[in-house]
Symmetry: none
Subunit: 242 residues, 2 copies
C-alpha cells in the first residue's frame, strides 16, 4: 500500500533537500519519487544526504512539467505549511489518512511539494483534490521540505503499514511479574521487619500496609526484584535477630 503514494517535488532548489526527502521516505517505507524541474539533479549532495536511500533517487522520475509527474494518479494532494485562499479542501495529515481510506479505489496518490521558498504555485494548487496542512507554531512555521515529507510519510506508515505495530520484544523479553501470593508474602515481610525496627506501630499497621501494597503494585515487581527486596529485608532481620 505504501508503494501507492508518490512524492512529487516541484522545482526544488537545493539538491540536499532532495536527498533528505529520499531518506525521509525510505525510513517510513515510501519509495516512489518524482522530480519536476529540479535545479540540480543528479547531484552528489543529494546522494550523500540520501544516505542508504540512494536507490530511491536512482529510480526517481524526472519531468519537465507537473502534469507528466501525476498523469496516472487518481488522487492529488498538495502539501503546505502555509494557508492561503485555496481551491482545494484543507485537511491535516491525520485527516488525510481518512481521506485516503475513503479513496482506496483511487490510487496511486500524488503528494505534491512546492519549491522551498514559496511552496506550491496557484497552478499546482489547482491540480489538487485536497491540500494537506501541517499544524505548526504560528510564530515560526518554517518546516523544511524533508521534514514535511517525513511527517506526512510517518502518518501514512502508521495508517497503511502492516508492520506498524511494536516489535514482539515488548512481550517476549519482559520478565514475569510475581504472583499475588508472592506479593502478599513480600508485604508481610516488610510489615514484620518494619515492626521490628520500630517504624511500624502494630496498632496502626493497616495504613502503611495499604500504601506499600499500592506502591509495589504500581512497580509491577518481577521475580528477580522480588528476590532482591526479600534479600534486603532479610539483611535487616539479621541485624535484629542475628
Amino acid at each position: 500500500m505504501l508503494e501507492k503514494f508518490r512524492v512529487v517535488l516541484s522545482h526544488t532548489t537545493h539538491p540536499g533537500n532532495i536527498g533528505a526527502t529520499a531518506r525521509a521516505m525510505k525510513v517510513m517505507g515510501l519509495s516512489d519519487l518524482a522530480l519536476v524541474n529540479p535545479t540540480h539533479f543528479p547531484s552528489a549532495e543529494a546522494t550523500e544526504r540520501a544516505s542508504k536511500a540512494a536507490d530511491i533517487l536512482s529510480k526517481a522520475s524526472v519531468c519537465t512539467d507537473i502534469e507528466s509527474a501525476i498523469t496516472d494518479c487518481r488522487l492529488v494532494v498538495g502539501a503546505s505549511v502555509r494557508t492561503r485562499s485555496l481551491p482545494s479542501r484543507l485537511v491535516t495529515p491525520r485527516e488525510l489518512v481518512e481521506v485516503v481510506k475513503n479513496n482506496l479505489e483511487n490510487l496511486p496518490v500524488a503528494l505534491l511539494f512546492g519549491t522551498e521558498n514559496s511552496g506550491l504555485t496557484n497552478e499546482e494548487l489547482h491540480l489538487c483534490h485536497y491540500q494537506v496542512y501541517i499544524p505548526t507554531n504560528p510564530d515560526y512555521s518554517s518546516l523544511n521540505l524533508a521534514s514535511a515529507v517525513q511527517l506526512i510519510s510517518y502518518e501514512l506508515r502508521l495508517a497503511f503499514s502492516e508492520l506498524q505495530h511494536l516489535p514482539d520484544q515488548r512481550v517476549v523479553e519482559k520478565e514475569q511479574q510475581v504472583s499475588r501470593a508472592q506479593l502478599e508474602g513480600l508485604l508481610r515481610h516488610f510489615e514484620k521487619t518494619m515492626i521490628s525496627t520500630g517504624y511500624i506501630n502494630p496498632a496502626h499497621k493497616k495504613q502503611i500496609d495499604n500504601r506499600m501494597n499500592r506502591l509495589l503494585s504500581k512497580a509491577q515487581v518481577t521475580e528477580s526484584e522480588y528476590r532482591l527486596l526479600r534479600g534486603m529485608l532479610s539483611s535487616v532481620d539479621k541485624l535484629i535477630e542475628p
Copy 2:
C-alpha cells in the same frame, strides 16, 4: 504546556544536528533544550541549521552529565528507533501522548535522545520511565536525530498545543511523582543502608543500584511514598548507629 517538555540531547556528535533539532522543536512550539556533553557547541554550523530557532540554542543549558539535565523532571522518556532489551516500558509516540495525559501532575517531562550512532546508553535507559519507539521501515530504520525530534514534537503539538493550563480535576487530586533528584537521593539512601546491613558489597554496588533504579522508576514513586521509604530506611539506620 509545550514548554513543559525538555529535549535532552546526549553526546551529540554533529553540531548541524543540534541546530536542526532546535528548528524542529520551534516549528512545533517546544523551546526547552538541554545538551549533555555535545562534541562541538556553540557552533556556527548549529546556529546556521537552526535558522530562526537560534534563540533556542542560546537559551539551551549545557551539562556534563545527564542527571544534571533532568534533575527537576518527574517523567523521563528515552527516544530510540532501535529496540533492545529494555529496562523501561515501550510506547509509540502516539501512546506517549496518552502517557503524558495521565501524568499531567508529573511535569516537566524529559525526552532523552542519545548519540547519533549508537543511541541511548544502558545507563541513560535506566533513567527512563518509558521508552518511545518510532515505527520505521525494518529494512531501513535510520531516522536522523532531528527527524526523530520532529516527529515526537509533532505528536506533542497535536495533543497539547491547545492545553493552556492543566485542565483536569484529576490533576489536583493526583499526587505528584518525585523529581529525578529525589529519586537519586532515595537510591543513595538504599545503597548506604544496604551496605551497612552487609547486603550490598560496595565493590559490586552498581548492579543492585541499577536494579533498584529500574524498580523505583517503574513504581513512579510519589512524594508521600518517598517519605515512607525514607522513613523505613532511617529506622534501619538507627539500629546500626543508634
